[in-house]
């Protein structure tokens, strides 16, 4: 039940933006094109 609640309220889109931003920092010039949202952050 806790897992269901966590998944239901987990902000997927902001989490993906955060991941893309950090991946750009960790793999500079290597990662395939980031999402437009990650570029703006």
């Amino acid at each position: 039940m806790v897992g269901c609640a966590s998944t239901l309220f987990f902000p997927v889109h902001p989490a993906e933006k955060a991941a893309d931003k950090l991946i750009d920092d960790i793999w500079p010039g290597v990662a395939k094109s980031p999402t437009p949202e990650a570029k703006k952050q």
């Binding site: 239901l8 997927v12 955060a18 793999w27 395939k32």
Partner: protein, 147 residues
Amino acid sequence: MKPVRPNFWVSLLPALIACLIAAPGVSAQSAPDLDINSAAIVSLAKSLANRFAHLRPHLDTGVIGLTHDGSVALRDSASLDVKVLLVLDVLIAEENKDRATLYREIARANRRPEWESDLRTTFGRRWISRMPAGWFYRNEQGQWVRK
């Protein structure tokens, strides 16, 4: 006009809940950005970036690969000298420790420690999506796949 009974509104609740479950992306689109600027997260990102220079040759040759759950793993060590393999084992362990700490720190920085598992899954998906063609990843079925 016929009055609406309270039971009518109660009967709508299951449908409303079903709609919320079926469309999580609607609320996600308007959710605020996650905080990824804490000192711990910045430090972990630097550590991962520094280690990447050592891991990249092994990612390029397919000796190691990414996993669906946001880690890295040894894939094919047949071509490696024992000394290189020992060093690589340490690098992989350090990398996975940093990655696990990163997911935990992001959850903590956003005051939602229960998100750690979902963050790991999301990062796993994004690492694989963003990695160059030719690298390998291990899917949920445990199979290695070349991108």
